[in-house]
């Protein structure tokens, strides 16, 4: 049943992504000032939304894992899957943002609050993934990385405010004004943008669903390993005696 739902989500994501691509590239008009580059509107904002959603899901499932009454291995798997997706999409957000900024702003990067905070968020959760790869027992890694995910997530708003004031107090935010807001978003553009949000959210759900399923398989494989390990441990003594 659950597998079934995941497959449907996957197909829905594929269909809506293709529809977004068709609408975004062929149907919607190009922007007056940004020309073709305005089509990043159907790529960049939904991916940023998914990135934040992913880290939110990761933080929430980490809390549920840390809370003794709701502690389930599944929450650890969900946190890991969400952070992996979140790091991927944050990376893509930074790349697509730079690709858009170069022709429109005339530079790949500005030290704007939102950009800087996003870059720091990328590094923070990259750290989470690096942390998970260090040794330890399954429960130990799960518990420690849940703490890392939670405090990283809490750090995001503090980082945001600090870089916001760091920037605005010393240089004008004028670079950021050329945008679409002045003329408003055209009707078909708004619908396409909405569709792109749905499409990327479905894609995220499918990716996380697949990833947690994989992690669950790995964990259950560990279960039969234990019986083998116990048998091997008992045999250790006898084989030593035979050898001696």
């Amino acid at each position: 049943m659950k597998r079934h739902r995941l497959t449907i989500t996957g197909w829905a994501a594929a269909v809506s992504l293709i529809a977004t691509a068709i609408l975004g590239i062929l149907i919607t008009p190009q922007d007056v000032t940004q020309k073709e580059y305005s089509r990043f509107l159907y790529l960049h904002p939904p991916m940023a939304w998914v990135a934040y959603l992913a880290f939110g899901v990761a933080a929430l499932s980490s809390v549920l894992y840390l809370w003794p009454r709701t502690r389930r291995e599944a929450f650890d798997h969900l946190a890991l899957a969400s952070v992996e997706a979140g790091v991927l999409f944050t990376g893509l957000v930074l790349v697509t943002g730079s690709m858009w900024a170069e022709p429109v702003w005339g530079t790949y990067w500005v030290w704007d609050a939102r950009l800087t905070a996003t870059a720091l968020m990328f590094v923070l959760f990259l750290g989470y993934l690096a942390f998970r790869r260090t040794g330890g027992t399954k429960q130990n890694i799960a518990r420690r990385s849940a703490i890392v995910a939670l405090i990283s997530f809490i750090d995001v708003p503090i980082v945001h405010f600090s870089v916001l004031w760091w920037n605005t107090l010393h240089q004008g935010p004028s670079v950021l004004t050329p945008g679409l807001s002045a003329q408003g978003v055209h009707g078909s553009m708004a619908w396409t943008m909405l569709l792109s949000f749905v499409a990327f959210t479905l894609l995220f759900c499918w990716m996380v669903g697949r990833r947690t399923a994989l992690e669950r398989l790995r964990a259950s494989a560990g279960g039969s390993e234990l019986q083998d390990a116990i048998a091997a441990r008992r045999a250790e003594g006898t084989s030593v005696e035979v050898g001696a």
């Binding site: 720091l120 690096a130 942390f131 260090t134 040794g135 703490i147 503090i158 405010f161 004031w165 760091w166």
Partner: protein, 222 residues
């Protein structure tokens, strides 16, 4: 909790006083860092003076890694964590005590770097109270976050490389706020102080609370 915290605090400082790692390794490192930054910025007085606060606090952040790493290695001796666990030590107390000892050492580093910035980098200060309040708040935040992450990384392999990678992005708000406040203290008046002070305060409160809450779970082994 506070009884254990005090015992751990005194114990850590006694060990530091005996081993002098801080005196002979961390302080000279901070002084060298200050000189390196001065070389990098060039001999212009105006550039040096404007960069003084930033140079000082980057030095403090780097010193945090050394002090936190040392603070964790004290506990790595064979049987120590087990015997303390069986004696019923309160992990929250351990966190507060260790963070407190780290904070004292950090204040010493800040003092040295502050004097260095004044003498070598022409750092001028019109409002001493601001420098002191900002440094105290920043120190609480740095030592709390550093101690928590130090313990998280402490039991894993490759902690030397992992600790900076995990902690550096976390400490960015403290770095920015402390530098801005030191710069603001250089002139007689300036706006936006409350915002920066509240960032330092929020950071200190959040990481101290997180340490008290989670230090026990971090140290558990099973």
């Amino acid at each position: 909790m506070f009884r254990d915290a005090w015992a751990v605090f005194v114990k850590d400082l006694r060990i530091e006083a005996a081993s002098r790692v801080g005196l002979w390794q961390v302080l000279p490192f901070a002084a060298i860092a200050l000189l390196l930054f001065a070389f990098a910025l060039g001999p212009s007085h105006r550039v040096l003076a404007s960069g003084a606060a930033g140079v000082t606090w980057v030095g403090v952040v780097f010193a945090t890694f050394l002090i936190v790493g040392r603070s964790q290695s004290i506990e790595a001796g064979a049987g120590i964590s087990e015997s303390q666990r069986l004696a019923g030590i309160d992990p929250a107390g351990v966190f507060l005590g260790k963070a407190g000892a780290v904070a004292v050492q950090l204040l010493a580093v800040e003092g040295l770097l502050g004097v260095g910035a004044r003498l070598l980098l022409d750092f001028h200060c019109a409002r001493w109270w601001l420098v002191i309040v900002a440094s105290l708040l920043a120190t609480i935040g740095l030592s709390a976050a550093g101690t928590l992450y130090g313990a998280l990384v402490g039991a894993t392999r490759a902690r030397e490389t992992l600790l900076p990678m995990l902690v550096l992005p976390v400490l960015v708000p403290v770095l920015i706020a402390a530098v801005r406040l030191w710069q603001a203290a250089g002139v007689a008046e300036g706006q936006g102080l409350a915002g920066w002070l509240s960032i330092l305060g929020t950071f200190a409160v959040i990481y101290t609370a997180a340490g008290i809450l989670f230090y026990g779970q971090v140290q558990e082994h099973s």
